[in-house]
Symmetry: C2
DNA sequence: ACGAAAACAGCAAACGCTTACCATCTGTAC
DNA sequence: GTACAGATGGTAAGCGTTTGCTGTTTTCGT
């Protein structure tokens, strides 16, 4: 029965082999093939064998579109990032993608470049493609649109903050703790005058980070004069510009915290061009711990926000929203932890007690 | 007629509004709606108006899966890159994506991480998703798989080299000319001992680049001793390692060309850690002109391979393969030009004639 | 050995859309 | 007034799946 009828084939289009070809080959109905493929247990084991053999022989690949059409689920996830060219995001994309793929999802990536119009049209495209859920790793998505989606119970995942509506997951990054660690590290080294280069303050997340910084400073009883709070835009250029403004101040702070690593890298560059040395004259601390950070000169001390954790939470959150029987269906907040990674861009400030040298050196550690 | 029956709606699933809703609303058949949406001219203008109005009112978005199912074309393109975290690729992805979207295509991105198994499964996923074509911006795709695809007349685009088969576009980067310009630039500055840090030589494109270097050198009558030919892996780490090997040589070359910018950046880093200064003691030239290059210290002299040109060619090549009436249907080779961007990482070698200073300085220019 | 239930496979109806084909209507030539 | 062509809209047949329902076996208790 197995080796019977060797030569049939030939359809109109040689394009794609369909479930029908398999059914014909295995001598069963297409329903049985479908059930076999979907591992539905009512198929007799022996028959299933035959079907699998046929599948292999004709080289059948189920057509995802057709599946999606009938099931209403496309098994695609949308991933919206601010700017794919910002090194943090490719790392995130990579993690997100491999997790999604492991769960049988494909990923549609979009970069908004901080343009609300782009974001809107991107969302529309994703919806039209029937993605099963969207992770929004950027800011400034219009509430309006989000509301509409949520009404449809469309699974969404946001970083930091999002509307308080059902079926939305919020990936809560623990900025407060991370930035506090950074500030305390600097304070422990003896820094009193610490500046902060923020991200674009028109967005929520950068504001959150800045506020976390201010809180951490005030907890230590340290004042932050307004000129020590400069705005960047989370890019290297922004970091350069902001650092230049700090350098122009009559009294340079002894340390600078940055809202993200690219900003910190920009700050380092701006400083290289001057006579100020890092970390001898000024310490620089970043946030994110992108791959590049450890290759800076000096290697950048930074607060690590694990890409991997973020991606895991995003994918899980979406899956929880999509699959009604997911153990965490309905879970709203997904905590993302942060931790300080001390490298060589931070040190005791010039003129502080030599005793601190040992302390500072002692605390150094490379990432684990 | 327009404002009639205000309150109907209510389907089983509030999920998605279909062509039927529009038809009902506009009081026409679904065929007419479809024709209107697809701008088929046999629809009476006035009627079309009414349909568009209805579309707007009910918020209709055509279901792409269904369209794909019936048309056999998904309007999705696959984009395979080696490593999304290598800064060159996000830039490429961005360009590719916006071009594709402008043409009504969505992009499915995959990163192979140089793993043939990943590449294979990625290809399979893309096929299963019925992408209309795939741009392979990496190397090491198995000929076997490619052959199978080409038999189906599946549109593919490769960089540099690919099998000589129909419906395949080859994006021919003019390495020879680009690298020649780099080498000639160095030679003009007075360099005679120029080393080359290659990419992973197991792949074709890195080999091509190295050969281009050797050719350019021999054209100038310059010898390249084997120890001046070191292998990197196109990453910063690789560049660091390779440069360290060069530094360990008894006679350091006066200039180093690198197979890509990340390698060059790694080389710069390795040199920073030594007493050798760039460009005073040694010149470094990259290849790609990634965004980061201009922010290096010193800004990196490099051979620009325009991401944009590459993306344009890739998308056009695929479109040409997909759409039979495309003006360039069947076009095989798509030339990608390169050009030298002189910045500050290259200068006359120590001890050369002062007269060269002026020449070198005169040639400097920032990217246009 | 009989009947009922369980196990299993097939039929056919969707899913939302495109499009070939057909029906209708209008206008024009005779 | 009739016939016919051209314009335009509707009908329905798919596209490749999944799945509820139904029909046919097989299994098993008695």
């Amino acid at each position: 029965m197995t080796a019977a009828r060797e030569n049939f084939s030939e359809r109109r289009r040689p394009v794609s082999v369909s479930i029908r070809d398999v059914a014909e080959r295995a001598g069963v109905s297409i329903a049985t093939v479908s059930r076999t493929v979907n591992r539905i247990s009512t198929v007799n084991a022996e028959l299933a064998q035959r079907v699998w053999k046929a599948i292999d022989e004709v080289g059948y690949l189920p057509n995802t579109q057709a599946r999606a059409l009938v099931s209403g689920r496309s098994r695609m996830l949308g991933l919206i990032v601010s700017e794919i060219t910002n090194p943090f995001f490719p790392e995130l994309v990579q993690e997100f993608e491999s997790l999604a793929v492991a769960q049988g999802y494909e990923v549609l990536i979009g970069s908004t470049n901080y343009d609300p119009a782009r974001t809107e049209s991107l969302m529309r495209r994703l919806l039209q493609r029937n993605v099963d859920g969207v992770a929004v790793m950027t800011f400034g998505v219009e509430e309006e649109l989000v509301k509409k989606l949520v009404e449809r119970e469309f699974p969404l995942a946001f970083v930091d903050a999002g509307p308080d509506l059902p079926n939305i997951g919020i990936l809560k990054v623990d900025y407060a703790e991370g930035i506090r660690q950074g500030v305390q590290h600097l304070a422990a080294l003896g820094h009193r005058r610490v500046a902060f280069i923020s991200g674009p303050l028109a967005q929520r997340s950068p504001v959150t980070r800045r506020d976390a910084f201010l809180l951490a400073m005030s907890e230590l009883g340290l004042k932050v004069p307004p000129e020590h709070l400069v705005e960047g835009n989370h890019s290297m250029e922004g970091g350069i510009g902001a650092m230049e403004r700090l350098i122009a101040l009559p009294d340079l702070p002894t340390a600078v915290m940055c809202s993200n690593d690219m900003t910190a890298i920009g700050a380092l560059h701006a400083l290289y061009r001057t006579t100020h040395r890092v970390p001898e004259d000024i310490s620089v601390v970043g946030f994110d711990d992108i791959h590049l950070a450890q290759f800076m000169l000096p290697p950048l001390t930074t607060v690590q926000m694990s890409c991997k954790d973020l991606a895991v939470a995003a994918v899980e959150s979406l899956r929880a929203g999509i699959e009604r029987d997911h153990p965490k269906h309905g879970k709203r907040e997904w905590p993302i932890s942060t931790r300080l990674v001390v490298r060589q861009s931070s040190a005791f400030p010039r003129g502080s007690l030599p005793a601190l040298v040992g302390t500072a050196k002692g605390k150094r550690s490379e990432t684990g």
